[in-house]
Symmetry: C2
Subunit: 360 residues, 2 copies
């Protein structure tokens, strides 16, 4: 029977406690759907810095290399904030992980569950029954990794600079992913750029159009300037289906979308390489202020397991089972503290895990 090797990297803050629930859910669906998993745990982020003097130690990279996928918790916290940039948990672990494993494609679904629509910061008439936006963000190119970057000169003339850059290959690859993703959804892609100013964006837009016209003419393609997109998401979030974004604009718009849902603790994300390898993590942060209290919402981490099953292991049924169990738990009124309101069933991290298991 099938066996999947998983590198489990719980990280800092609430990471370990929500990871515990995610692993319980993973084990339950494995049994139910007839596959097994082999889990190797490793440190990442602040705790890895404490143990190994680096947020992404060689040993952790090795653990990842030996695995079929990485299940990632969250990293960072006040304790490590004054480290030099390259040793900081987020920057020193996330960016090198993306580069090392060539995780070019970042998927961030921003979904409002009907029952949670009141938690959304937008006016009720704009939210309606909720919205469901999938951002497909390019993750290993753009001004994040473009060379050269540096500082030069001195005095008033000293400059700091970075290079924004995309190759045709990179744009084609991510565009195909976005159009494919739209097929199983509402068949609409909004591609984000700043083609009225940036040469990189003119290039991006041209290639996205080519891929669309030649390979996906049946998908509806809209081009939006990033500034306009930041506005339209507030006015008509329900109109959007798939957002196709370069790395930097994707960074900004996915966070805007996440906040728009009002329930950050429910948003998983996937960072995928060519082939089937991927890294799966909650969209929210390590929330050091509530760490260790048993009150963190484990749903984003649990839903990250579903994405891992879908994208890395092609276990679609098991993925769906988890997603359905989460929906049922929400419909049944189970809520962790940050989204709880009068009339809901207030539960802690473990009890939410129990609820999901009971609905599986």
């Amino acid at each position: 029977s099938k066996n999947y090797k998983i590198a489990v990297l719980p990280g800092d803050g609430i990471g370990p406690e929500v990871m515990k629930e995610a692993v319980r859910v993973l084990d339950a669906v494995a049994e139910k759907f007839g596959f097994s998993t082999e889990k190797e745990w490793a440190d990442v982020g602040g705790i890895a810095y404490d143990h190994f003097k680096h947020p992404l130690p060689e040993s952790t990279l090795k653990t990842g290399e030996a695995a079929d996928a990485i299940l990632f918790g969250s990293v960072g916290g006040p304790k490590w904030e004054s480290l030099p940039p390259n040793l900081q948990p987020e920057r020193g672990a996330l960016l090198p992980l993306r580069k090392h494993f060539k995780l070019f494609c970042n998927l961030r679904p921003a979904k409002v569950y009907k029952e949670l629509a009141p938690a959304c910061p937008l006016r009720a008439d704009i939210v309606g029954d909720g919205f469901n936006i999938l951002t497909v963000r390019e993750l290993t190119g753009d001004v994040y990794f473009g060379q050269p970057k540096g500082r030069e000169g001195s005095g008033k003339d000293e400059i700091g600079y970075d290079t924004m850059k995309y190759s045709r290959y990179e744009v084609e690859r991510i565009a195909r992913f976005a159009f494919e993703a739209a097929k199983g959804r509402r068949n609409k892609v909004a591609s984000i750029d700043k083609a009225n100013v940036l040469t990189t964006s003119v290039f991006w837009r041209e290639i996205v159009k080519e891929i669309h016209d030649n390979e996906f003419p049946e998908i509806e393609l809209e081009n939006l300037y990033v500034d306009n997109a930041a506005m339209q998401l507030l006015r008509r979030p329900r109109d959007f289906d798939v957002l196709l974004c370069p790395n930097l604009f994707g960074d900004i718009l996915t966070d805007e979308c996440a906040m728009l849902t009002g329930s950050m603790g429910l948003l998983p994300s996937a960072s995928i390489a060519e082939g089937s390898f991927g890294l799966y993590e909650p969209a929210g942060g390590s929330a050091p202020d509530i760490a260790g209290k048993g009150i963190a919402n484990p749903l984003a981490q649990i839903l990250s397991v579903a994405l891992m099953l879908r994208y890395s292991f092609k276990e679609e049924e098991a993925a769906k089972a988890i997603e359905t169990a989460v929906e049922k738990a929400i419909s049944a009124g189970y809520r962790t503290g940050e989204i709880w309101k009068e009339g809901d069933k207030k539960v802690g991290t473990t009890a939410m895990g129990d609820a999901i298991l009971s609905f599986l």
Copy 2:
């Protein structure tokens, strides 16, 4: 007595009709506060393309050069959308105007008037009594103008690229402006960057801190990553006072802020050079769909006159008089169609101009 030379560039779409009201208001305050104006009208944008085959003809630049300030309407429309990028109204006129006149500092106030809070797309409990954010956006540097930019190579390896870049001088200059602006307000500056990824941002953050510590230690300084800022603006807009932004991040966040107010037709902006020269324009677009119908909201254009009086002519009293008249008209219930609701007094462009004149 004082005489100010103004280049009036109404542009396209609703530009000419809202400009007409703005000029009536300007003439009224001039008389009231004892100064005179000399106005030279010139074409810009699509209409300039139609007349001169360029959205920013040499003659219009000359008109601007001979003036103390430019009062700008809005440019663009479907008629000119398929022109080559450099001839398009927005790109071909706005960017060269900024560069030519060295308009390094863009001020975009995003203010929710208490009476208009219901038009805001955010939940009522988040908006409260309204918010008031002033974005100070650097406007002549960053990846907008950084060199080199271009395309190279061919096939899969072809690349498109731009250079993100700031000099110490540019950052110091805009930071000082932001801290000064905060003095007359709530003494808080949030500086926006992406220092966890970009070298340009590390440089930006370092210089902003220096200027703060050495020259404005009494101002509260917060540093926010741009992705986090895009989120926090949705959750706690009332906490922000002055947002200090590099060009690209400012482009995105000012549009997010503008949409958050729910009343784009009320937002003026100023683009200022060293010395007293400036260009003043509404934050909204040319709205070709409602052009020529006499229903466009002239308040953003009228409030742009107030900014011109304040920043280029130091006529603070006259500026305040206009702003007070606008507040009174709003309190009295005057509304153009796009923000009108049951119980308000619905007025067209000219009648709104009349209302402002009557409250002066």
